[in-house]
Assembly symmetry: C2
Homo-oligomer: 185 residues x 2
């Protein structure tokens, strides 16, 4: 038995529109979006948790560094379940950390800490949990990129329109740091 719901985000979603409803979502069947080369799948968002936390996965090919950015008010988990992901993070005093995470490894990025990452193997997957006192931000990916019904990574990279760069990141507590330097490598 598979239930589908109409929600504010999707015409058909496996995430119940009504908070307080228990549910199961099979692997890959969450709300999906494409952004650059990655597939983002949301399994739970702020509506489900009184804005305490969300739960999503990011799958991508071996690729480029996701540019340095910072969340002023959001804590973020990187828990690798497939492949390998190189995480860069800087604390609020400027100390930098760079580590390759493989399945089962866990990285934690507090608010106000610049960070970046790069998929180091094809078919890598990261579980993300991200939230702050101001709420959860799981719809950043589809607002910046595009919602999709597909199950795989984008056949071609989904590059945001210029107006998206101007408006979307701020709305979701994301600030890109184009001049940031990683001194760890």
């Amino acid at each position: 038995m598979t239930l589908e719901y109409a929600t504010r985000y999707r015409r058909t979603s496996r995430i119940p529109a009504e908070p307080g409803t228990p549910y199961v979502v099979e692997k890959g069947e969450g709300d999906r979006a494409h952004l650059f080369g990655d597939l983002i799948t949301v399994y739970a968002g702020g509506e489900q948790t009184e804005n305490l936390f969300n739960f999503f996965t990011v799958e991508g090919p071996k690729g480029d560094l996701i540019p340095a950015h910072v969340h002023q008010d959001t804590y973020e988990v990187f828990y690798v379940t497939q492949g390998a992901v190189r995480l860069f993070v800087e604390d609020t005093r400027g100390e930098q950390l760079e580590r390759v995470l493989t399945p089962g490894d866990f990285g934690f990025v507090p608010k106000n800490c610049p960070h970046a990452y790069r998929m180091e193997r094809h078919h890598s997957q990261v579980v993300g949990v991200a939230a702050g006192p101001g709420g959860t931000f799981e719809r950043f990916f589809e607002s910046m990129g595009a919602p999709t019904e597909r199950h795989g990574v984008p056949p071609e990279p989904v590059v945001p329109a210029p107006h998206a760069f101007a408006t979307v990141p701020e709305r979701y507590d994301v600030r890109f740091l184009p001049d940031h330097q990683w001194r760890t490598t």
Copy 2:
């Protein structure tokens, strides 16, 4: 480079005592506890997230049903990464759902929904995120069972002392439902 910290929970922990510190914890190296047949590993707790969320894993052998219980004020994620886990959950109107989750499947248990689960394969692993408006409850497991430095599941089941049953669950927003019936099977 592996850093260790003295925290209020452990003499040596990979989780920094000071909130706001970025960190990485390798697979299996979080704060560990044994409860019944399971190994629980905490990778982040309320101190790290302004009490918004936590992140832990539960590993166990194929075994008995974890008895039905309910959290009055806590939302809970079951995300399976190894093996198979049978999840039972009842909504607030009494509707029951039973599903076997395999790696990549996601289950969501809202507050006030009775639930139970059973590991259906040896070496199963579930990622948990659990939090409510009143805080996070990742130290339930070591308070009910026992902290450990070991990396595997308990060689013998760790059965809580009777006084633990009387005091610990309530402190961590857990209420066991000894008379609960699952009508799904």
